[in-house]
Assembly symmetry: C2
Homo-oligomer: 378 residues x 2
């Protein structure tokens, strides 16, 4: 590579290799390389190398109508759940020469429309939407325009979009099963917003599992969050636990809400897990650093993003490729925020799927009491 004022263009390469620019183009593109003789290709490639030629992606995009850019709409990048997902997405895209344009929407429809339009104007080749709600107008618009779209994490009915999501029903059932196995019978639920697929699926999982365990699940045991924020978790936690003092456990549909719920417990003078067990959903980063470490439902974040990227690339490369819906299996991870209810007799705890006794992972200052009780019971 030689240093020059202006970066080398295809014409320069062609001139250096004594061929026509068209030939140089063919020689340089793997797809059309077989159209030129091996000798010519070699000469062109060598010249390109020597001049440090970098194809101008703008010019290429103009001609091919491909920007090798995809738009990614994230409801809230401040939620630490998303960065690892985005990482998986970006890495997979990068393997194929694509880059991601990240847009925050804050769950605000106007904002969502703005960034969506902005990205369309920039001719992104497709979209990964982590913002789907029941009433997203942009889904209909994207379907209408036949844009390649993949829904990520949240799904939506009635659109011809590929999607990758978590089996939320199963995940929430596992959360309830965990609490039930510990001996809890009066379990509350803080539900995520019901215009989001994760909200309804997890609520369904909760109700299903409660019924399957023969436990009552009345309307007074459920509080509906209107957003996925710590503040909203605080509000819901307060409401649920003041209205329903007998609850010994809360299955929270989202870790951000669960973090808020911790705050509510503090406010009400309740201890976690001694007075109330809490289980979240998502296993977002840092919840294992809380006191007590949060029991929650885990799914592979990075993979979710990577799979979404793969699905989108399939649709971009071949518009006729089939629509796929991919579900990732969730897994309960028991930590310190769940333990048997204070009223329950001490007894053998069931083995946990990550091999850790939940009591061992809980607050040092709190665990010895419980562990002692368990030992006495033997």
């Amino acid at each position: 590579m030689v240093l020059s004022e202006q970066p080398a263009t295809l014409r320069d390469v062609a001139a250096a290799a004594r061929v026509h620019p068209a030939t140089a183009s063919r020689a340089l593109n793997p797809g059309t390389r077989l159209l030129v003789s091996e000798e010519t290709a070699r000469r062109v490639i060598e010249a390109a190398e020597r001049l440090g030629y970098r194809p101008n992606p703008v010019a290429r995009s103009l001609r091919t109508r491909r920007s090798h850019t995809v738009g990614v709409l994230i409801p809230d990048l401040n939620n630490p759940l998303f960065p690892p997902i985005v990482r998986g997405l970006e890495d997979r895209l990068a393997e194929h020469g694509y880059v991601a344009l990240i847009g925050n929407t804050d769950g605000d429809l106007n904002r969502e429309r703005m960034v969506f339009d902005q990205m369309r104007a920039r001719h992104v080749d497709g979209f990964v939407l982590a913002t789907a709600t029941l009433h997203s107008p942009i889904l209909a618009e994207a379907a209408e325009a036949e844009l390649p779209v993949v829904l990520m994490n949240r799904t939506a009915q009635g659109y011809p979009f590929s999607a990758v999501a978590v089996d939320n029903e199963q995940g929430e059932r596992a959360a309830v099963a965990h609490l039930a196995a510990l001996g809890h019978t009066r379990i509350g639920h803080i539900a995520a917003p019901q215009d989001i697929s994760t909200g309804t699926a997890r609520l369904r999982g909760f109700l299903d599992s409660m019924r399957a365990h023969g436990l009552a699940a009345g309307e007074d045991q459920i509080v509906y969050a209107s957003a996925l924020s710590i503040e909203e978790g605080l509000r819901c936690g307060r409401e649920l636990l003041t209205a329903n003092r007998e609850l010994t456990a809360v299955a929270v549909a989202n870790d951000m809400l669960a973090v808020g719920c911790y705050g509510a417990l503090d406010d009400l003078g309740l201890r976690c897990p001694e007075d109330v067990s809490v289980v979240g959903f998502n296993d977002m980063p840092f919840v294992d650093r809380l006191r007590p470490p949060l029991s929650t439902v885990r799914f592979p974040h990075y993979q979710l993003g990577a799979e979404a990227a793969t699905l989108l690339l399939e649709r971009i490369e071949n518009a006729a490729s089939p629509v796929k819906i991919l579900y990732l299996a969730p897994e309960l991870v028991a930590r310190g925020s769940t333990m048997p209810p204070a009223s329950a007799a001490a007894r053998e705890l069931p083995a946990q799927d990550d091999g850790r006794d939940p009591a061992q992972a809980s607050v040092p200052t709190a665990v010895p009491l419980r562990r002692g009780a368990a030992h006495r019971g033997r």
Copy 2:
């Protein structure tokens, strides 16, 4: 706006308004509008409106060599410190019609080079680098190529780049002053990597302030982290506190490290804040949710990003604009992780800037002991 198969081009608009495409272009661009008659401009604009004309940014970029895109290099997007900063950046950029291309580097030079080259190939108009280290080869390269660059959060000596950063020395001095005011005399420091400006500045602030308070600050009181991760914080915390059992407080140069340090305290059977006070740096999201809530040094995250964007836009719009270095003032926020050392006689605590007694904010299960002890001491 009328719906059509192909999106309207400038030619379509021109045809609809019965003018030449060149005239339409002039009429549509605010900068050149005064070159056409008011009547013509009106007609063109009206036609554009009617056809739902959206200028093709790719074609425009090809001609103007401006992509209205800037590259942003982030050392670790999983660090929750960065999302709010990026938000500020993106919002400010959006106001001026620019979008950000976000790139993670993981503190890996190879990765950094890859995304940097990738972004240059895409003809970004400038860079915001939050990844500067003493030895970043790309800084020299960017300077050589006279790219518009703004350094964010981290600075570097000897480059003609604008920068926006925190006054890290002052911040760390405030952290030490806080601990000293509580009565601590044996204070350790977990230093951030010394090839990063924040690492050296905070260490300098620590040493300065220790000296100013007449406190010893020997080499055995300092451990150097080799990365800004929780794991590294864990390692450093263990090392510092096992080597130096008399420490009653640790000033940690970074919140991620501080979170790891919490883990080290647990491992060693030490309680925070009763046995060891901890103060971090950055006030990244969620540290107020830890138990105990982390005392730390705050700076305005969103603003940092927004100012970086402004600085970069200045440089882009006018390459001759002066280089500016902007420092944001930090502010100590005292939470539950700091209290007077156990050995100190109980006494009036200085008023905290957030109005909360640090003891009140700490772990409910732990605080009563300490609070009781304090009461007994009166």
